[in-house]
Assembly symmetry: C2
Homo-oligomer: 425 residues x 2
Amino acid sequence: MPDDSRSIDDVAAMMARIGREARAAARPLALAPDTAKTAALRAMAVALRARAAAILAANAEDVAAAGDLTPAFRDRLTLTPARVEAMADGVDAIAGLPDPVGRVLAQWTRPNGLAFERVATPLGVVGVIFESRPNVCADAAALCLKAGNAAILRGGSESLRTCAVIAEALRDGLRAGGLPEAALQVVPTRDRAAVGAMLAGLDGNLDVIVPRGGRSLVARVQEEARVPVFAHLDGLVHTYVHGPADLAMAKTLVVNAKMRRTGVCGATETLLVDRALAATHLAPLVTALLEAGCEVRGDAAAEAVDVRVKPATEADWSTEYLDAIIAVKLVDGLDEAIDHIEHWGSHHTDAIVTDDAAAAARFLAEVDSAIVLHNASTQFADGGEFGFGGEIGIATGRMHARGPVGVEQLCSFKYRVRGQGTVRP
Amino acid sequence: MPDDSRSIDDVAAMMARIGREARAAARPLALAPDTAKTAALRAMAVALRARAAAILAANAEDVAAAGDLTPAFRDRLTLTPARVEAMADGVDAIAGLPDPVGRVLAQWTRPNGLAFERVATPLGVVGVIFESRPNVCADAAALCLKAGNAAILRGGSESLRTCAVIAEALRDGLRAGGLPEAALQVVPTRDRAAVGAMLAGLDGNLDVIVPRGGRSLVARVQEEARVPVFAHLDGLVHTYVHGPADLAMAKTLVVNAKMRRTGVCGATETLLVDRALAATHLAPLVTALLEAGCEVRGDAAAEAVDVRVKPATEADWSTEYLDAIIAVKLVDGLDEAIDHIEHWGSHHTDAIVTDDAAAAARFLAEVDSAIVLHNASTQFADGGEFGFGGEIGIATGRMHARGPVGVEQLCSFKYRVRGQGTVRP
């Protein structure tokens, strides 16, 4: 069981050491061939399966020690044999991705004969601060490793025992690939000063922080971090049904976008319906949602559809329910829809449902969100669904990474320039 | 003459307003077609030429008011008719670049039929804090505009009058293109609190800061900014001559890399020579540098070449001279060269001169600098030489932009996803 009785000074010294060790390991990792990284990841998956019993035992201790938990929290914290297997499968899937490092992103030759290449390089040291889900430990470590980055992982204090055993399995894998174990640092203390040290950047030894957890964690990291952050604070996601739109398709999309899983950041929270469709589409859409078990909070037009519809207040346009609740509003055409989304949205994911190609093109161009969709469910906001083979999170910032952050977005780049004794006049 | 007698409260309110206005203008600018941006840029160039006399008069006032200046500072501050013309030419060149916004950076289709596109979008609001060179005002404004970004420019207090007139010309151009004048904000005060407000991020209305000026400005911005920064603190650039290397080519490259212009960040500051070339290349290289008027500070081997060579101390390996001075050192092969560069360098620009393709490949892979060159002068570290049509600066950070920052690096991206009523299972 990891020690959590250190003094603040001890924690500061420990975090400084973790930063230095990660930085030192980042260089050999950056230069490691893909064969070594793949071998390490395959061995990690094997070790996770081999240590499944130990992982589950540690997890049972964590769950027992956590005491009174909400059912949702307990579900996030608890591992099962199937979840450990899924964790190992995820690491295997990342092992099978093409190496993102060394990809030639662009190449060109200048009139003086200089040949330029922009090639992907690792970012350096990635810090991940996560809450209750222990699987993030394996996912994040695997994504960072594939992209040639050292990782510093700080899990929730409730999952400390589980993560310690998972980390042993991951280090088994690093050894098997001949890679430095220091490339994976798991912060072994419950002391919150460890988070503060990461937010301060570990003396320049941390290049980016990815918070994975609830809104208050993300808000604190975005507020206090002195290093770049890949994150989204909210996922206030809209689906806008614009005329002409096939009603059957619109119903299917809206119900999927809201109800497939209500707790994910890509779940639609607000349905906008074009006023031109008020007579034809509004009632069937609202009814379909109610029948799917969704609470509907509507403007006057939506309220008039069904006695079960509750009146929406202004707060509903800015609430990410993460639950089986949706806000519904009529809008006067594309401009009002875009204005509503720009005003109330969180620049995460927004969709238009329409058969009008010109309206779709305008929506995709003018809605300033990381992900904009046409005739597709907002629940596709996920790195796996993008084909990234996994994601460390979804970012709504505009710098470096935006949308799902996969191995390619965990890379930087550099320029290779080749001449023939070429001098600048 | 701009007002510089405001109270701190006035400055805070003014900067907050500048941030809000820039943010509001960023959206129409982001959606502006390239025809409008190009028209605005062409009109800016015309207006700069038309206002040349007023710009020069304001500049003469700035120079007179600045009082005692070093010759280098006076040179940077002073505009001439030719420099105004060059400024207009630069804006015209940026007008002619392809639109960086809307480029499809990647596209793919998933097995479920979803079609993905990653497309370039503007970053938002770019802040530029610059010192004495008034031409940065026009260059930076033009680059930001081409990339669809609003810009907030804060020039050195010595060039305030000059920049005010240049800004009038630039706003003429925005009007001519039908674009919001608020997209270009020039901070009209000498008060340093304006810089503090920008470093604090203008209430979230500033997305990135680019400092252009001396080391102390860059250091302050990197230290204090609460928003991302594109910059380099140092350009401690190396050229490494590795055997076998053609001596004539090596001499030409080294003299150009050091002496073409000694004050630019891509100028070589340290020459590393492989010990295998001590007998054949060291003396001719040192002699060529001395004959070109360069002061040489060498290790024992270099000192033995010529009485004019001064002994190097450890400080020389970490000094960016920005002058006709070079440090010279023998190294034991590629590994020691790379280690020296990683230890003392600034991850900006480094070059190898060699006929050995394998050594060159290792150097280009293992030296962790924004720009790595083989058989080419380090003085090519420049966005214009890269074919970017201009640069707002050179970055040594690993996030978002690295190396010369041109219009493409002043962009973010988003994902456009098109389905056919596609739902997520």
